[in-house]
Symmetry: C2
Subunit: 341 residues, 2 copies
DNA sequence: TTGTATGCGTTATCAA
DNA sequence: TTGATAACGCATACAA
């Protein structure tokens, strides 16, 4: 049934021309002019045989693959990340690249980098924490022109270009809003899940900074994503003076909308009034957050211009070489005020 | 800075051996025995030069890439799909394949298939609706051994092996439960979003079947994911006799947890009692569904054994050829009863 | 135990 | 306007 795939030589034989001519026609080479008649005959033969060029062979010959590799292992999947990837894919293909996502979660560190390098992508776009100096060396010595990290401000920025999300400012934005709406204490929730914890700590720094600037009491609490863990925390809060009966309003930045929803559910179960006793701010602006009652105030990450800028920067680094390592601060954010504060 | 990547020939020169020896050492060839001393010298040279084999060249030479291509465009991303992909990746790499996800959303139909075929993957695992007969022909004639669809029962099953999710049974399970809990009418919600609508219709068929079998009134309603659209629907329901005051209990299968949450929020705003007047069943068992009050009854899609089975089947098809096209019904589901029914 | 030689499918240089 | 031919990096049959 399925014999070996047709090669350009098969097409050439079928069309009665040389193999080089096939290559010229199919790649629209400017250099050599081909008669319209030959051109048509080649096209027709290629279509009929179902000819598809062999990417590996082309890469071998030309020395570049046009592949942009994105090893997405522990990036938190959500509407945000998915939307970003879709847009990025679009932008990259507009510039002539093909974006592929590569798993191989098995492999760590340099071994992972080697696996990526085997495909000889022209660029790698990876979570910043995976881009150790060793790993980046492997990638560069395999001829990969652009290595770009996605991460938080300050991570591995001397090694590679990094697309940064300014987590600290996210926390600060939430905190400022909580104070403006009357909160007299500030609490930052830090998720205990791997991959979230680091970002949680950075966001908490922003909250703490604002608290200090305003001379307001600050607490931070580690929290696992479960109702029982949250309920237990509530008891501790009660002991610390935060309660459903007091007159002071307590502000909580819940790290993201998921944690905010968890918190609000448990608060409601325990007789706390939101936003009366406790004001809650989430992050991500999930579609579901609007469905909560009270509606959830949240920090929306603005992703609109990020993909285009990122793709463009990648293209520049690829073409001009890695002369300098610009830090890209592509993510902006904005507070979306609703009813929970 | 970054010269051309080192080749196996560079390693050979550095180690003072022939290029073939390098290949033998690095691939642990049984055929030819290499002295431990040479072996060590080659390894050391490879490490020092940062040698990484060229996947394209290897593919060209051996005739197979070990790549499993998964073009995930419009698959609904959620914890379910992500978990499935992660597990699948693990299983496939255990079997010696590398899974890569390929975007290229730009391209449609045969053009997309051609883009996939360029990479000469050994297998393609794609949404069933993208696997038209033409597209599959392109893939097969490019030498791709296994083409497997992911979709609903009955889709393109004569063309390729298909991993099916039995949407109709999901709807039926939800409906049976609603009746058992006392609902006297049944309604199926069908999302209007692209990519979800088809599955919604299939699930609705299951609801309708159960309704007919029990002689219970059945309605189905198209619904966009917005509060205003849902509120408008509620007015229509009131006109149809479903209200927050009646004595009869109305059962709604809301397609998934997102729609269920939307519905429950709007129901609460409009004075409907859940589950008193309206009982709601979702699907997916999202972590957030437990946080709703009342807690959401849902149909959980059981994904545990799917990835291993899928990987294994793929491996068999690759090795034995496409003699037959087994239909795989890998997804099971189970109702998780909570408070909303 | 190791080296030599060949070909995989493609593009590009040069000659016709 | 088109055709021979070489080279890309690697794996392997065969020779030494």
């Amino acid at each position: 049934m399925s014999a070996k795939p047709p090669t350009s030589l098969d097409v050439a034989r079928d069309a009665g021309v040389s193999q080089a001519t096939v290559s010229y026609v199919l790649n629209n080479r400017e250099g050599a002019r081909i008669s319209d008649e030959t051109r048509a005959r080649v096209q027709e033969a290629a279509d009929r045989l179902g000819y598809v060029p062999h990417a590996g062979a082309r890469t071998l010959r030309t020395g570049h693959s046009g592949l942009v590799l994105v090893p997405l292992a522990d990036i938190p999947y959500g509407p945000l990340a998915v939307g970003l990837m879709e847009e990025l894919d679009r932008e990259l293909s507009r510039l002539g690249y093909s974006m592929i996502q590569y798993g191989a979660r098995r492999l760590k560190g340099v071994a992972a980098a080697r696996a990526w390098a085997e495909l000889r992508p022209v660029a790698v776009l990876a979570p910043a924490e995976r881009l150790t100096r060793q790993a980046v060396n492997v990638l560069h010595s395999a001829g990969i022109r652009a290595v770009i990290g996605i991460g938080a401000v300050g991570w591995s920025s001397e090694i590679v270009s990094t697309v940064t999300m300014d987590h600290e400012e996210i926390g600060a934005t939430a905190a400022e809003h909580l104070l403006a709406r009357g909160s007299r204490t500030l609490t930052a929730i830090i998720p205990t899940e791997d991959g979230l914890r680091d970002m949680g700590l950075l966001r908490a720094v922003g909250v703490q900074r604002v608290a200090a600037a305003h001379g307001v009491p600050y607490t931070q609490v580690d929290l696992a994503f479960s109702e029982t863990a949250t309920a237990a925390r509530l008891d501790a809060w009660r002991a610390a003076g935060i309660s459903g009966e007091g007159r002071t309003k307590h502000g909580v930045f819940a790290y993201n909308d998921d944690y905010a929803m968890l918190l609000m559910a448990v608060l409601a179960d325990n007789g706390f009034a939101v936003p009366g006793n406790v004001a809650v701010v989430g992050c991500d602006d999930l579609p579901l957050a609007k469905l909560l009652r009270p509606r959830l105030t949240t920090v929306r990450l603005n992703v609109t211009d990020a993909p285009a800028l990122l793709a463009q920067t990648l293209d520049e680094v690829v073409k001009e070489g890695v002369t300098r390592q610009p830090r890209l601060a592509l993510w902006t954010h904005a507070l979306v005020e609703r009813d929970s504060t």
